[in-house]
Assembly symmetry: C2
Homo-oligomer: 200 residues x 2
């Protein structure tokens, strides 16, 4: 036993990521266990601890990867349309990602940092870049408003859109289909944008 070196550390890390993502995608965050990951990649638990500090570390990095995917999806939205329409399309794209990748997406919010743990800077940046995207569109929408007003609007709208997604997709609310959730997201975004401009 030991000393196989069939894979580099980098390769093992990648295998762990992929195995973990498959497990979460298929059976949810609660099903993510070291032993399951080790089994899936054909190594033992000790090997997972060679490439990750602990489960919390792996989880945080998984969340980061999902945030990257979200950012990537949001960047697909065409900028060749008025900012108001872009905001609606971004909201729809976020919902679409959340619905298509529900388990991995909801893991971002199911997992909480332990006491006296802090959000890593590299993770915070990924969160911020989403909000900056939205903020920039509010600047286009109302160039004369202050930077603080753009920031506040982006925060309120995006948190709101997220709220519709999380409550609508997590059961508990009797929302029948994805089209119904989409209507809610559009209603929220549309109404907010109209009202925000009116109240400026």
């Amino acid at each position: 036993m030991a000393r196989r070196s069939q894979h580099s550390q980098e390769q093992i890390k990648d295998m762990v990521f992929k195995a973990a993502e498959t497990i979460v995608a298929e059976d949810g965050f609660a099903a993510l266990k070291v032993r399951e990951i080790a089994m899936e990649i054909g190594y033992t638990v000790g090997s997972v601890y060679m490439v990750f500090e602990n489960m919390a570390d792996l989880i945080m990095q998984l969340k980061g990867r999902t945030l990257d995917e979200i950012n990537q999806q949001l960047l697909q939205v065409s900028t060749q349309q008025p900012p108001e329409q872009q905001l609606i399309e971004l909201s729809k794209a976020y919902l679409f990602f959340a619905q298509k990748n529900f388990n991995r997406w909801s893991m971002i919010f199911e997992h909480r940092l332990g006491t006296n743990e802090v959000v890593p800077a590299w993770y915070q940046e990924k969160v911020d870049s989403i909000f900056q995207h939205i903020e920039a569109l509010f600047k286009q929408l109302a160039p004369l408003a202050t930077a603080q007003q753009h920031k506040n609007a982006a925060h309120a709208l995006w948190c709101g859109v997220h709220g519709v997604c999380i409550l609508s997709l997590s059961g508990s609310l009797d929302v029948v289909g994805i089209k119904e959730v989409e209507s809610s997201v559009i209603l929220l975004a549309q109404s907010f944008i109209t009202g925000w401009q009116q109240n400026l």
Copy 2:
């Protein structure tokens, strides 16, 4: 050992509820363990299983109790003011409860039902009654709109308000103080209501 009967089943159940709520309030949902509860009430783990089916059962009932408290808080909001203002005050009351009872409140959303588990009817009713409260105010706000429009507006706004609360209070977003979150909640509610009426 055994056969103490110092407390009735009903009393033990109540002791478990209170011990569990103290643990969650102080150290968060992740700190809620049967052994800890048993220790706190001066019984053994087996006794907890006398009054609750399992942890999932206890957790679900705890969530129900918190929903009751939320409903109760929302009912404190004065009806002696225009519906628009009531909606703002309800949003603020929800945020206030979430902030004051963060660990118990966020437990409602951290906990997910296991696969092939269903939301109990008695729990669903508690969720629904919050939305019905909001719905009724949209009916007052726009009596000529359809019942479906009232329902959609209530769903979009309340999910949105919840989204602002959960993302703002859970860290990750760099929101400094409670006053800043309150501004966001008010901005979302105010803008949504204005825009919704406009777009009717």
